[in-house]
């Protein structure tokens, strides 16, 4: 039986009616139409669905949507606040931390959490913190560089972002 609830996502209240078994990820993507968060494994292994729940990370594929009522949910669409693209997202673009982009929403949420708890992480701390987020394209180098760049405070505006000389994605099929 469907249950009426209100989900507060990126500062907006959405009235919904949900079956109790529906995950937060499915509700946000299919009922609210916010498709930034991805379903990779649906098993809490890959982190592509990661969102913030009252500011703390959650694998939304493995969290019941009804449990989120009354809590603040933030998805990748809400990370930049009023900006179109935030510093972390600009750094991902500049450092070519994105290839297919499927893992990117979760990576951004995960890195946001890391930087909030540890504003100046070492490369090793970044790699450990992001190990719950799987990427099958870029090999993580650009992603780690992007997080380091934000930590160093050196993120240029989007329009002028030069591409890192080492940032060309590898050419291979499949």
């Amino acid at each position: 039986m469907k249950v009426a609830a209100t989900l507060r996502v990126n500062g907006t209240d959405y009235p919904v009616e949900l079956d109790p078994h529906v995950s937060l990820l499915k509700a946000v993507r299919e009922e609210l139409g916010l498709t930034g968060s991805k379903e990779g494994c649906d098993d809490s292994e890959c982190g592509a669905c990661m969102m913030l729940l009252d500011g703390e990370p959650v694998n939304a594929c493995s969290y019941l949507a009804l449990q989120a009522e009354g809590r603040d949910v933030t998805t990748v669409e809400g990370l930049a606040g009023d900006e179109e693209v935030g510093p972390l997202q600009r750094a991902f673009l500049q450092q070519a931390g994105v290839q297919c982009g499927f893992c990117t929403p979760g990576m951004l949420v995960s890195a946001t959490t890391l930087l909030r708890h540890k504003p100046d992480p070492t490369e090793d701390e970044i790699r450990i913190a992001l190990s719950g987020n799987l990427c099958r394209c870029t090999g993580y180098r650009g992603i780690v560089r992007a997080v380091r760049q934000v930590a160093s405070g050196d993120v240029p505006p989007l329009a002028r972002a030069p591409v890192h000389e080492d940032a060309t994605p590898p050419h291979h099929a499949g």
Partner: protein, 299 residues
């Protein structure tokens, strides 16, 4: 498929729901994942207990430790008292899942899920934790080796809710450590794990508890390993004898993460690392938290 969902804000509300046949969910990191994997379907009726007031507290009654069932792994890692006095528990909670799991996953859920591979089980068992179970008809406290009856099963009745774990104050001169063998740095489950809690007086080990993880149907202590340590100075031969005893106590299974033979061989390696680090900590030396993976030569 789940037909009803309620959210409890008091223990009594939760207990009524349990008495009516509902099953509890807190962080969902085991229950919902298990349903996705096809291990067990979601219960017919669910009561969310994550908003019960007062169950997410870390207290130190009589010098011991009381963990409310809703304390998260993140809370445990952030507790200076736990890092200092109950270090093996901090070692374990620091490597559960990823930071998303540690933010949502609770110690109560971890214990009641009763996985033989759970990271926090060995530390809680060796530190002497008891589980405080409450139902509409009363409450009781039981030892963890009475609680865990098999993989995924406990002796708790369906109408009982775990409300807290009570851990006695460790004796002066106690150090502890949990180490696991792992293949991935987050979202990993122990291939093999070992816990050691060691108490020293001068050069001598006067108390030792050793437990093995992912090596038996439930997490259990290895008494032969403990006796191999007590009365010694904790030198290499004593550690080797204790490590060999943990391997001998192991009855591992073969699965996708390791063969039984490999697990048994690694039991001795992982146990010796846990024992050596617990002795180091008991003597005031420093071992990073979490001890895994630093002890494996990985930084």
């Amino acid at each position: 498929m789940t037909r009803s969902f309620t959210s409890a804000t008091t223990i009594d509300d939760a207990l009524s729901a349990l008495a009516g046949g509902a099953r509890p969910v807190a962080g969902g990191t085991d229950l919902v994942v298990g349903a996705r994997q096809g291990k067990a379907p979601l219960p017919d009726a669910i009561v969310a207990i994550d908003r019960i007031l007062g169950l997410r507290a870390i207290d130190a009654p009589d010098g011991g430790l009381r963990l409310g069932a809703l304390v998260t792994h993140g809370d445990i890692v952030a507790s200076e008292d736990i890092r200092t006095r109950f270090t093996a528990l901090a070692d374990a909670s620091a490597i559960v899942g990823s930071h998303a799991t540690r933010a949502q996953g609770t110690i109560g859920g971890n214990v009641m899920n009763a996985s033989p591979a759970m990271d926090t089980g060995g530390p809680l068992l060796c530190l002497g934790a008891t589980a405080n179970l409450r139902s509409a008809s009363g409450e009781r406290s039981i030892e963890l080796d009475e609680l865990w009856t098999g993989p995924g099963s406990t002796s708790a009745r369906a109408d009982e809710l775990l409300v807290a774990l009570d851990v006695p104050s460790p004796a002066a001169g106690t150090g502890s450590c949990y180490v696991r063998l792992e293949y991935r740095r987050q979202m990993e489950i122990a291939v093999v794990g070992a816990t050691a809690v060691v108490t020293v007086e001068g050069d001598r080990i006067v108390g030792a508890r050793v437990a093995i993880t992912a090596l038996t149907p439930t997490i259990r202590r290895a008494p032969e390993a403990e006796s191999a340590l007590v009365g010694t100075d904790g030198a290499e031969d004593a550690v080797e004898a204790a490590a060999a005893a943990t391997a001998a106590a192991s009855t591992p299974i073969s699965d996708v993460r390791g063969s039984a033979e490999y697990r048994r061989a690694m039991a001795a390696v992982i146990a010796s690392r846990a024992i050596i680090s617990a002795i180091t900590r008991a003597r005031g030396g420093s071992v990073p938290i979490p001890a895994s993976p630093a002890l494996h030569g990985v930084t």
